[in-house]
């Protein structure tokens, strides 16, 4: 099966391409990217799915992308798939379907499953399951510590050999600085990035929302911005000391951004990601006590959101990741203190970013795409991903940046629906998602 995508605006930040081009895909790889690929005229303008006959060997499907944007498949390096352990909330099948709908062709799954991904056998299970039922590529993140208890190193070498592309005790920050130092040192041997959730648990203990003006009014216990920044500072210093590559998960505070900016300026190998919700919502959203506004790190102040937006624009924060965290309705329909942290994000991320950054002219499309493709591929050293050059894997997302849609409460590929964006009207979405040359999602 070959694919020919014609007439779309192709944006490939990795190669600097931004032009109307055709893309020919064969055997799961990108074969040709050119002004007019042979055979592209035969289909002519019209509907998708126009079979263009045979050119002697294989069938070719011509996809008319006129008026659309063709980009490398999006990569989300921060996803919770919940399998194994909480298959009622999400499975590898449902989570990758949500990814496909959202335009993501590769996702990294965090290791805080049950059992946690701290051994090669769990990594192998995830990869096998993904191969069987996954719609998109799954790259596991392995634990830093055994059992993610923060006491003893996990078998990092085994994890890397089994296919883990990063290390994190996401959700259970490594409080022991000595252990983090050794994890970083050890990780350099496998050239694997350490991806911590930065939170000093002694500062955040009991907190359920950002400590600020709104928590003052609501009487909910606050999580101070310093709880994050203190750990970002520690891990930057340890990264600098050990030479390990550091990627800070879901950066949310002004102080963290300052630390990352300064560290990058002096050459520390540190990067950071921001979630759509931290870029768009403030702690004001908590006022109605909806538990879909409860996540960790919490929604921060308007000043923090402004700083985070500036950091995303100037490149201090070079990656957008969702922290997709499905939770069962019965767990979220609780008193605010008792509900779990986290919201789903795969299916709304692109629409939110296009609505809030592209249509407001804060970020040009190539800049947005870079933060969703090229940059995560580079940080995670994913080969043949995040680009559309010939020879790359044929992971391709076709966007309609102007299509308007409403986030419906009961319209999800994910098994969960814990989103604070239900009811939002968004502009822009993925209309087709292609993984290894196969169409895994298309809007009807």
């Amino acid at each position: 099966m070959r694919l020919l995508i014609t007439g779309g605006r192709v944006i490939d930040p990795a190669s600097g391409v931004d032009a109307t081009l055709d893309i020919l895909v064969e055997d799961g790889q990108i074969l040709q990217v050119d002004k007019r690929v042979q055979g592209s005229g035969s289909g002519g303008p019209g509907k998708n799915k126009k079979p263009a006959g045979r050119d002697g060997q294989t069938e070719i499907r011509v996809i008319d992308a006129t008026g659309k944007i063709v980009v490398p498949g999006l990569i989300d390096m921060h996803v919770h798939l919940r399998e194994p352990g909480r298959e009622d909330e999400e499975t590898i099948a449902s989570g990758t379907a949500a990814a496909a709908r959202g335009g993501f062709t590769s996702i990294c799954c965090m290791p805080n499953t049950d059992p946690v991904n701290d051994t090669a056998s769990v990594t192998e299970y995830i990869l096998e399951q993904a191969k069987k039922v996954g719609r998109v590529n799954v790259f596991p993140i392995g634990c830093i510590s055994r059992g993610h208890h923060g006491e003893q190193l996990a078998d990092i070498g085994d994890l890397a050999a089994a296919g883990c592309v990063g290390l994190s005790d996401d959700g259970k920050p490594v409080m022991n600085a000595e252990l983090m130092r050794r994890a970083m040192e050890y990780a350099t041997m496998f050239d694997i990035t350490v991806i911590p959730h930065c939170e000093d648990l002694t500062l955040s203990e009991g907190g359920v929302m950002h400590e600020g003006r709104v928590s003052t009014k609501l009487g909910l216990k606050g999580i101070p911005s310093a709880a994050e920044a203190v750990m970002v500072g520690r891990d930057i210093l340890l990264s600098e000391y050990t030479g390990a590559r550091l990627h800070v998960c879901h950066v949310s505070t002004t102080e963290s951004i300052c630390l990352i900016r300064e560290a990058r300026a002096r050459g520390v190998q540190v990067s950071g990601e921001a979630t759509p919700h931290h870029l768009i919502l403030t702690d004001e959203a908590v006022r109605g006590f909806s538990t879909n506004t409860k996540m960790n790190p919490p929604l921060r102040s308007a000043e923090d959101v402004t700083a985070l937006r500036e950091a995303l624009i100037d490149g201090t924060i070079e990656i957008i990741a969702t922290d997709h965290a499905p939770h069962a309705s019965f767990e979220k329909e609780m008193e605010y203190d008792y509900a779990p942290f986290g919201i789903i994000g795969l299916e709304t991320a692109l629409g939110l970013i296009l609505t809030e950054f592209y249509h407001t002219r804060l970020l040009a499309l190539p800049m947005i795409i870079e933060r969703l493709t090229t940059n995560p591929a580079r940080i995670l050293k994913l080969k043949h991903k995040g680009t559309l050059v010939p020879g790359a894997d044929a992971d391709i997302t076709i966007l309609d940046p102007d299509q308007e849609w409403i986030v419906e409460e009961n319209d999800w590929q994910s098994k969960s629906k814990n989103s604070p964006f239900i009811g939002w009207k968004l502009k822009g979405r993925a209309v087709m998602t292609i993984v290894a040359g196969q169409v895994v999602w298309e809007t009807s």
Binding site: E211, G212, R213, S215, T216, K217, L218, G219, L220, K221, G222, P224, G288, F289, F330, E333, M334, E335, Y336, D337, Y338
Partner: protein, 310 residues
């Protein structure tokens, strides 16, 4: 005039004329308390459920008496939340209660916003009897009633609230209520017991208790809530008492005849000296008496009663 709302969850949602309506109605309810037979038929056939997820003596008893004096059938459900995973969720409890057709559910709960979970889904009127450190609207209303009763007015008065502002629903509701009726509020406490942005609450903020109480018409002392405070917030009760306790000496430096209030229960010798708590200007027991009147007024108004026009 009637109260045009189903629930009373916060002072924040109340307009000042609603506050005055509740206070005026409570004034007329006080007369019932002075009768030999303390019973009127206003809520006959109505069912009131007290749903308490935290231990409480005075608030629960106050609601119970208020309901009974108005002839409502009163049911008390006390439960302690030992573990979230054990037992029924609040939502399920609420649905179960709703199926028994109560008219009013009074809820006290350790988590801010919990009463709203019931209010959003139950047909019954929900009254917040304290949700974590968020609000305690009936306490704020009874405090206003007590001050107005003694001083004849509210507007223009200055109140000093001293103590643990951070964990206090009494302060959060009280400050808002006082601001809405035109009072000035100062708060004083150690920085570890002030919220991150205390100015957001609408009060002037100081860590100097004597500056706060100087010229104040009313001093409201808050309880040091040992059960809510971790070991990192205060070095010792002795030092707290020395820095913030309301002693006879401190009262002498305040305005002559300054009124003393406390929502209770008291930690005698910690935030308030016994001589002050039991002194001639203490309104502490008036607050308790007026609590019943305020709750009668709210039960009456929320179940469709109208204030007498005179």
């Amino acid at each position: 005039m009637a109260l045009k709302r189903k629930d009373l969850l916060t002072i924040r949602e109340l307009e000042s004329d609603e506050i005055h309506l509740i206070l005026d109605t409570a004034d007329s309810m006080k007369e019932i308390a002075s009768r030999d037979i303390k019973k009127v038929p206003a809520l006959r056939g109505k069912t009131l459920i007290n749903l308490f997820y935290e231990p409480s003596t005075r608030t629960r008893t106050s609601f119970e008496i208020a309901g009974k004096w108005l002839s409502a059938d009163v049911i008390n459900i006390s439960t302690t939340v030992s573990s979230v995973t054990k037992g029924e969720s609040l939502l399920d409890t609420g649905k179960t209660l709703q199926a028994m057709r109560p008219d009013v559910v009074v809820i006290r709960h350790p988590v801010p916003g919990a009463p709203k979970i019931l209010a959003d889904r139950l047909q019954a009127s929900i009254i917040n009897a304290g949700d974590g450190a968020h609000e305690h609207p009936t306490q704020a209303l009874l405090d206003l009633l007590t001050i107005r009763e003694r001083l004849g007015r509210l507007k223009g008065l200055t109140v000093a609230i001293v103590g643990d502002i951070s964990h206090s629903r009494v302060a959060r509701s009280g400050i808002q209520a006082m601001r809405k009726v035109g009072m000035d509020v100062r708060v004083a406490g150690p920085p570890t017991l002030l919220p991150r942005h205390p100015e957001e609450l609408g009060a002037q903020v100081t860590t100097d208790v004597e500056a706060a109480i100087a010229d104040a018409d009313v001093i409201m002392m808050l309880r040091i809530q040992r059960e809510r405070q971790g070991p990192t917030l205060l070095p010792s009760l002795r030092e707290y008492s020395r820095l913030f306790g309301l002693t006879v000496e401190r009262v002498k430096k305040a305005r002559e005849g300054v009124l003393i209030m406390h929502p209770g229960p008291l930690n005698r010798g910690v935030e308030i000296a016994p001589e002050v708590a039991d002194g001639p200007y203490s309104l502490i027991l008036d607050q308790v008496t007026n609590g019943v009147a305020i709750r009668m007024a709210l039960l009456y108004l929320l179940t469709g009663g109208h204030a007498a026009t005179n």
